[in-house]
């Protein structure tokens, strides 16, 4: 295995509240190898997006990193200055968000927005930037790219807007793409196309990808590894085939079981009783203990550590 591209250790992110800091990401460890595609799966509030925003140092003013280390290609990102981070964002690490509508400026053409990004990171002429932008658009499957550069976002469909944003993200040849629910706002047929596009780009450009989603079935179609988060912690992590066929954490198992499928028996769906823990009211022990059918006293009291074993990791007192 080669040296990891991204290494995150014991990351903590908190929000300032009335009673001090409320932690939403509570000691997250993971790494991404060059060219690897990792699916990060969890429900709202699990800390999956927040962890990735912390990696990009894009937390804004309300949340802050309260502990941990983030290294990208050996460089300590938490020690990097803001100017250095601006260099890294877009050039080395790019990000694609859920809602392609709000990620684009409606008043500027697609071409203008793409060339702005290119020229911020590469010393090229206006014509050169336009060529790079057109190539990127072509690469994500938008035909007649040179002409489409002059279109405004509203002239694109939702799927085309997301393709344009992915084109913008890859235009500077980043080594890591963080895609935060990139298909959630799209129709199912378009969703399938975008997921396949990301798989293709990874293969052709040797891009590492972190694919954040709440849909385990969706990420399992393209990722190498799945990391499951719950209550601000990583609860399980392993090769996709292992997670799909032999998940060890009860939450992962239930998460798979409660999603309806086109195959399998009919009848009532498996449910996870209760609701995910709310910020500031995290259980003392395992965050999933209050909803876990297998929980014992110890689960309520003590937080299980994420234990590595044969390429997999699981944080559970009673793994299966």
């Amino acid at each position: 295995m080669s040296a990891p591209l991204l290494e995150v250790e014991d990351l903590h992110v908190g929000f300032r509240g009335a009673d001090g800091i409320v932690e939403a990401v509570r000691g997250v460890d993971f790494s991404v190898a060059p060219g690897e595609i990792v699916g990060v799966v969890g429900e709202s509030g699990s800390g999956k997006s927040l962890s990735m925003l912390a990696v990009m140092r894009l937390l804004g003013t309300t949340a802050r990193i309260t502990g941990g280390r983030v290294r990208f290609a050996g460089e300590d990102l938490l020690a990097a200055g803001e100017a250095r981070m601006r260099d890294i964002r877009g050039r080395d690490i790019a990000m694609v968000f859920q809602d392609p509508q709000s990620a684009l400026n409606p008043a500027l053409t697609i071409g203008r927005q793409m060339t702005d990004v290119v020229r911020a990171h590469r010393r090229v002429s206006a014509g050169g930037a336009r060529r790079i932008a057109a190539e990127a658009l072509e690469r994500v499957g938008i035909s007649d790219a040179a002409r489409r550069l002059d279109a405004y976002p509203h002239q694109f469909s939702g799927g085309m807007r997301q393709r344009a944003l992915i084109a913008m993200a890859i235009a500077c040849r980043p080594r890591l793409l963080i895609a935060d629910e990139p298909t959630t706002a799209l129709d199912v047929t378009v969703q399938a196309q975008i997921v396949n596009l990301i798989a293709e780009l990874r293969r052709d450009l040797d891009l590492a990808v972190v694919f954040i989603s709440h849909n385990l079935q969706l990420v399992a179609e393209i990722v190498d590894r799945v990391m499951v988060m719950y209550g601000g912690r990583v609860v399980e992590d392993g090769p996709v085939a292992d997670i799909e066929t032999a998940a060890r954490h009860p939450y992962t198992r239930l998460l798979k079981a409660c999603v309806p499928s086109l195959q399998g028996p009919l009848g009532p769906l498996t449910t996870i009783e209760g609701a995910p823990p709310r910020l500031g009211r995290m259980p003392a022990g395992c965050p999933f203990a209050p909803r876990c059918p297998q929980a014992v006293d110890r689960c309520e009291r003590e937080m299980p550590a994420l234990v590595a074993d044969a390429g997999r990791r699981v944080a559970c007192w009673r793994p299966q």
Partner: protein
């Protein structure tokens, strides 16, 4: 009554398209949201209406509830034209057909407690105020919420709980037909399963006719006995759930089915699907 509880006869809904100048010179075209749709729904049926954005599925729902009027054709409730019912008996018609929306946070008034919200609905049905409290507790129980939910405000509840309140409010009218427009698509998967099971149980227990609008075929398969597939304002396929999913005849239905994520089982077909899907 043995006839269909709800019927659409050649219903078309179109909107003017284009700017003011286009209209001035008479160049404005019309956008057809629903195109000559004929459809019958039997009492007690649980029907899934599937399609992507722009397919007309939500337009169909708002026509059935009487929120918009058709440009052509007619909507019938128990064989009676909706237009006449709206004129002469608007209140009873509206009671009989209720709707649950996708976004539970914008469907509830943020300043009113759950008890108040349900009481207003009960008042509309003519329930005397002495009975409100008991009815509220019963309604909350029906959707799996405790009485402690009643004094809360919407923001104090989770998305799944709010969606249940929306459902309780619709049920407070004792409707015959419930139209649910993407009621679970904004919920986390663990909560989605809870709400689907609840809808399934309520449809049986209360004998509801349920129109379930969704883009998720797997959810529809779990809940519905019949599927209507819509595309660009038209019904392209309609039949028993099992037949449609196992032997889809329309290419669009086939595309929808092949787009449902299948986990690692879907890995081999992933690239092939990309090649067949059109850009955008």
């Amino acid at each position: 009554m043995n006839g269909p509880i709800l019927a659409l006869r050649g219903v078309t809904k179109s909107y003017p398209q284009g700017g003011f100048l286009d209209r001035l010179v008479g160049a404005a075209s019309r956008f057809v949201a629903l195109d000559d749709v004929t459809l019958e729904v039997a009492r007690g049926d649980v029907v899934g209406i599937v399609g992507e954005s722009g397919s007309g599925k939500s337009t169909l729902a708002s026509l059935a509830v009487g929120l918009t009027r058709p440009t052509a054709g007619e909507v019938l409730l128990d064989g009676e034209p909706l237009a006449a019912l709206m004129r002469d008996h608007a209140a009873p018609w509206r009671r009989r057909i209720q709707m649950v929306f996708q976004d539970s946070s914008s469907a509830l008034n943020p300043r009113k407690t759950i008890a108040r919200c349900l009481a207003e609905t009960l008042a509309l049905r003519g329930v005397p105020h002495q009975a409100w409290e008991a009815e509220t507790v019963a309604l909350l129980g029906l959707v799996g919420l405790g009485a402690e939910t009643a004094p809360r405000l919407p923001h104090e509840l989770s998305g799944g709980q709010r969606q249940r309140v929306g459902l309780a409010r619709a049920l407070a009218m004792k409707p015959d037909i419930l139209i649910a427009d993407e009621p679970v698509s904004s919920l986390d998967v663990s909560l989605q399963a809870q709400v689907i099971n609840l809808l399934s149980r309520l449809a049986v227990d209360l004998g509801l006719t349920l129109l379930f609008i969704s883009h998720d075929l797997a959810v529809v398969r779990t809940l519905c006995s019949r599927i209507i597939v819509m595309r660009q304002g038209r019904i392209v396929e309609d039949g028993p759930c099992r037949d449609v999913l196992e032997r889809p005849t329309h290419p669009y239905t086939q595309l929808l089915i092949s787009s449902v994520p299948r986990g690692i089982a879907g890995r081999r077909t992933a690239v092939a699907a990309a090649a067949t899907g059109a850009a955008g």
